[in-house]
Assembly symmetry: C2
């Protein structure tokens, strides 16, 4: 059975929930797999933290909670500190390099440092689409969703009038992932 | 242990997912409880159906899936047909009366027919806020969230510039619920 677990984490307002919804929808609507997407709100939520979990499977999903993620996206240092240790051995961690700078060497997952916030600002003039840059990078690196499904779902999910901006941010992330392929930027005992 | 299960169902584009997110956030941020909110995408999603599940508890939630909902919101006849039978005995079903007209007599749950779409249009000129009318009615009838927490979270969650419209839709739903209190509009063997 194919089962992939993703945990997307950061602050409220960074577009974490929307990213989870987009991955969940893309997988089911266009890639023909099952998916669930869960937000948990508890004590953490009151501190402004935000977590969205996505499970992808080729079968009906009976347990929608993430047990040990294959993929962790961390958009804040706090989220990284809390969740990095729980990632599956050989898994993938993506961080926004402007938000997460303190990364230990001894992680057993591969860490990719993505300059999402910086490039969203420098290339597109809008920090708010950092989440789309990250989403592009995540999909480019992990291939959990096809690029076609992703692009289609993003364009259906963002507010009218912002499609072009979001599409450009997504492409930027996908291009970044290509550049990073085979050359992860640290972690897994070989940081730097 | 306090545990309430909600299933919100209908078509994509009716604001079902947003309603689930709002209830989940409101409960955790302002009412001091735990909540999870899950979308499942499978074969159903490809037919345009949309389901969001919310679990509310006073403890950490280990199983975020709905087993038998205490509360079902059905915004389409298809959703009603699929899910009405699974509601807990003595539970509550809310339907949009313009969307769901075929309701059997023998249900063991209490059915409330809410004219959400019609009133959103007649009173506010915008069908798109039917989901907010429904959300107000749901909370007014079931009290799963405090009205203050609900209002605060709605205003934080809707697009800028639409706050007033959404607030008015919500108030309309809350007022409807008051009118309906003690006078459910059918179901539970006493339809009419």
């Amino acid at each position: 059975m194919y089962r992939k677990e993703l945990r997307l984490s950061g602050f409220g307002g960074q577009g974490i929930i929307l990213s989870g919804i987009i991955i969940g929808r893309a997988v089911a609507l266009y890639d023909g797999k099952h998916s669930t997407q869960t937000q948990s709100y508890g004590v953490e939520a009151r501190g402004g933290a935000c977590v969205s979990e996505v499970v992808i499977s080729d079968e009906k999903i009976d347990y929608p909670k993430v047990i040990a993620p294959d993929i962790l996206l961390a958009m804040s240092q706090e989220a990284f500190n809390r969740y990095a240790g729980g990632v599956k051995e050989g898994g993938v961690i993506l961080v926004d390099e402007d938000m997460v700078q303190d990364i230990p060497d001894e992680l057993s997952a591969q860490v990719y440092r993505v300059p999402a916030t910086r490039l969203a600002f420098e290339e597109l003039g809008r920090r708010i689409v950092a989440n789309m840059v990250m989403l592009g990078a995540l999909v480019g690196i992990t291939s959990v969703v096809s690029e076609q499904a992703l692009t289609k779902t993003v364009l259906e999910s963002v507010p009218k009038g912002t499609e072009d901006l979001n599409r450009r941010a997504l492409m930027l992330g996908l291009r970044l992932a290509e550049e990073m392929a085979g050359a992860p930027l640290g972690g897994g005992g070989g940081e730097g």
